[in-house]
């Protein structure tokens, strides 16, 4: 695991032909070792070396995709224990369980909710990502369910204890790249056959991580690589333990048998929908690869997906929007001018409130390196002189006739100095503290 630059160099052609863009094979090897280059850039490396290298440089947790097209999800691929070390990469997909034993009406209603629940937040879409289709009735009913599930275009999991049914379903839907649930100690060899014939990913299921490791060993030996692991915990306590242990073992000890995204069927043990939502969020923050819950309820999906978004944002780079003047609701030369910071969350909240107010406005976004209003103020970035310099640099005076500018209520204290810095003719107006009160404020605003 983790080859050094020299070890990698020995696997390269050592001709220094420069086609990879590096001056020497050694330089290229160093870049590979640091994870800053891809082996495919060298056209001359042998297949054998390539295989060795890709094995050695593969992330400790297997990364693969489920589904096709727009809805396709990527799972695994994580490389650290703590998000402050680097970042977590692939947001945990949220799957909702649908069973063939439910009535046709219930199934249709559930699927239509699954398709429609989608929120936009800070420029990202937060949706139900997958469907977990569970076989409890007979094969024909299950196939009918899968037909409906496949029509949603969401990636899905085919879950059946009946090997024949699973095989039939895998054959039929393999082009949609669903996932198979589940391989156990008893059927691992047969499931491996199906997975290899169809090219589908598989969940390895067992009682605890020890049994799971035995199942994945069998699958790996049979040549199946795209695996998720379900240790079938009985409660949150055990689920937490298994998620933490699987992550530690794979990242710190390179234990191949558990180097896979975890698969968490929370609906199997959570007491009710509220507990499901809390447990799902807890596990997402604690290394869950995929979570399955039972209800497509927007009031639950919203907090779960926002929580997931927070866990998976890159701690090194706050999300920002570009500095500039944003017209909202078709403003003209008499419309109010508002100034705030370029933290994406702030922009998202403030612009949404302005839009909702229907009042035409010019929103001036100043580059504060992605800091929020008070943070930027404390850091000396959203302060009177810097703001005045920014305002004067723009062509806002060509966009409006008036010279009034609204500042966030939380920085009311800088209004006097800001007005002074802007100079003769300007009037700085103090807005409300919370953006939620902006619509009322804007509706009352007069030139």
């Amino acid at each position: 695991m983790g080859l050094t630059g020299i070890q990698i160099y020995k696997l390269l052609p050592q001709t220094n032909c420069k086609d990879c863009g590096e001056p020497t094979c050694l330089a290229f090897a160093m870049k590979l070792a640091a994870g800053k280059a891809d082996i495919s850039l060298c056209p001359y490396v042998s297949e054998e070396s390539k295989a060795k290298l890709s094995e050695a440089t593969a992330p400790p947790i297997r990364e693969f995709t489920i589904g096709t097209g727009d809805g396709m999800v990527k799972v695994g691929g994580e490389t650290v224990m703590f998000r402050h070390e680097k970042t977590f990469f692939n947001p945990t997909p949220i799957a909702v369980m649908v069973k063939d034993s439910e009535s046709d009406d219930a199934i249709s209603a559930k699927l239509s909710k699954i398709s429609s629940i989608c929120f936009e937040r800070v420029g990202k879409k937060l949706c139900v990502d997958m469907v977990f289709a569970k076989n409890e009735a007979d094969g024909a009913k299950f196939m009918a369910l899968l037909d409906k599930v496949a029509a949603t275009n969401k990636p899905f999991v085919i879950a059946s204890d009946n090997l024949e049914t699973l095989k039939q379903a895998a054959e039929k839907y393999k082009d949609k790249k669903p996932m198979l649930y589940a391989a156990t100690l008893a059927n691992a060899d047969a499931i491996a056959e199906i997975a290899k014939a169809t090219g589908l990913s598989v969940v390895a299921k067992g009682n605890g991580l020890d049994e799971v490791s035995q199942v994945t060993s069998k699958l790996l030996a049979a040549g199946v690589k795209d695996i998720a692991i379900d240790s079938t915990p009985k409660n949150f306590k055990d689920a937490l333990k298994d998620n933490v242990f699987a992550r530690r073992a794979s990242i710190k000890q390179k234990v191949k048998e558990v180097g896979f995204p975890t698969f968490n069927v929370i609906s199997d043990y959570a007491k009710d929908g509220m507990m499901e939502a809390v447990i799902a969020s807890g596990l997402i923050a604690q290394y869950a690869g995929i979570v399955v819950i039972s209800e497509p309820d927007p009031a639950k999906i919203l907090p779960i997906t926002v929580s997931r978004m927070n866990v998976f944002t890159d701690p090194q780079r706050p999300m920002v929007v570009e500095q500039g003047i944003y017209p909202i609701n078709n403003p003209d030369e008499n419309s109010p001018v508002i100034i705030t910071v370029n933290f994406a969350l702030t922009y998202f909240i403030v612009s949404a409130e302005i839009e909702a107010s229907r009042v035409p406005c010019w929103l001036m976004i100043m580059d504060t390196e992605g800091l929020s209003v008070l943070t930027a103020w404390s850091a000396g970035k959203f302060v009177a002189d810097a703001m005045a310099i920014y305002v004067k640099k723009t062509d806002i005076t060509q966009k409006v006739k008036h010279r009034k500018i609204i500042i966030p209520g939380y920085v009311a204290q800088l209004s006097g100095e800001f007005q002074e810095e802007l100079g003769e003719g300007w009037e700085v107006q103090i807005g409300p503290r919370e953006a939620a009160d902006l619509p009322k404020f804007l509706k009352m605003w007069k030139l």
């Binding site: 409660n235 949150f236 939502a277 809390v278 009031a299």
Partner: protein, 311 residues
């Protein structure tokens, strides 16, 4: 090959702080729910927040749950203790805010004493989050509450002298608040230490960002504080952690706006309770020792979680 459980135990531990008989800290593991790594002698606690004046413009789910008591801090505290089984009560003296009602320090201190006398679980008293005023208020509160040990805060880099000095006089515990930064948290503990406040009397308040509004920063700073304490043995970061969750969670638009105004968001009560409970489960996992919550239903959800680990 059998799977070997990669248990992680540290030789350092979080300092145990005793607030009037209820202890927090003492563990040598990263989170109070990492019982698989080693013993957690004192389970994380759930405190319920009581505000000293009837809150204005409260989200409907909170009014529905607490509207019958929210104009009377003593009744409110008793309800949290008796009906919702809060481990502690956290009284927020918001009415002292100079930009709000601006009640004088001795007046709000009387409320603190009244609540203290009424309840038998430990009391946390938090100020109005104006540093200067809180320095004054917490002095008066500690005077008024003499005779029983309370946890007071938040002490920050401006008012720590006043709050810390008074805490020494009365043997109280101090919540030291710094803005989401490992070094600032350490610095404040050093300053309090220089005053003579022992580590056994300090709890870190790393500043809580609510779900969707900065929680990711708080989450990581808490993990870094714990790693510094346990893995690196940094003596000045070994404090237990308190998280002011309710206050931040219920500020979010998503926890306030009704389903009729935002139909795609679904039922407000469900959403609001989860906004708070999900903020809490994240911070519990990150190492929080005291979760300060507002809604009885989120208290119930977190109690269910904790019961799995400690029953």
């Amino acid at each position: 090959m059998a799977f070997k459980e990669p248990v992680e135990k540290y030789s350092n531990s979080v300092v145990e702080v005793d607030v009037s008989g209820v202890k927090v800290g003492g563990q040598s593991v990263l989170s109070g729910i990492y019982t698989f790594d080693g013993p957690v002698p004192n389970p994380p606690k759930i405190a319920m927040e009581v505000i000293d004046t009837q809150p204005e413009e409260w989200p409907q789910p909170l009014i529905d749950a607490l509207g019958d008591v929210y104009s009377d801090p003593v009744k409110w505290a008793l309800k949290c203790q008796n009906e919702y089984k809060a481990d502690m009560i956290c009284l927020s003296l918001l009415s002292a805010d100079p930009n709000g009602m601006n009640r004088p320090a001795d007046e709000v201190a009387k409320t603190a004493r009244a609540v203290l006398d009424a309840i038998n679980v430990p009391l946390i008293v938090y100020g109005c989050l104006n540093s200067e005023k809180d320095g004054e208020v917490m002095k008066a509160v500690q005077e008024a509450c003499h005779g029983k040990v309370i946890l007071v805060g938040p002490a920050d880099d401006e008012n720590y002298k006043q709050i810390g000095a008074a805490s020494l006089g009365y043997g109280n515990k101090v919540a030291a608040q710094s803005p989401i930064d490992v070094n600032l948290a350490k610095q404040l503990n050093i300053l309090l230490g220089n005053l003579g406040v022992p580590m056994e009397s300090i709890i870190i308040d790393p500043t809580t960002g609510g779900l969707g509004y900065g929680i990711e920063y708080t989450f990581s700073v808490m993990q870094r504080i714990r790693l510094a304490a346990l893995a690196q043995g940094d003596d000045k970061l070994k404090s237990p952690i308190i998280s002011m969750i309710g206050k931040e969670a219920w500020k979010a638009r998503e926890a306030k706006i009704s389903a009729s105004e935002e139909p795609s968001f679904g039922d407000l009560t469900t959403r609001g309770i989860l906004w708070e409970a999900i903020t809490a489960i994240n911070l519990l996992a990150a190492g929080s020792d005291i979760l300060v919550l507002r809604h009885p239903e989120s208290v119930k959800l977190l109690r269910n979680i904790l019961n799995e680990f400690f029953s």
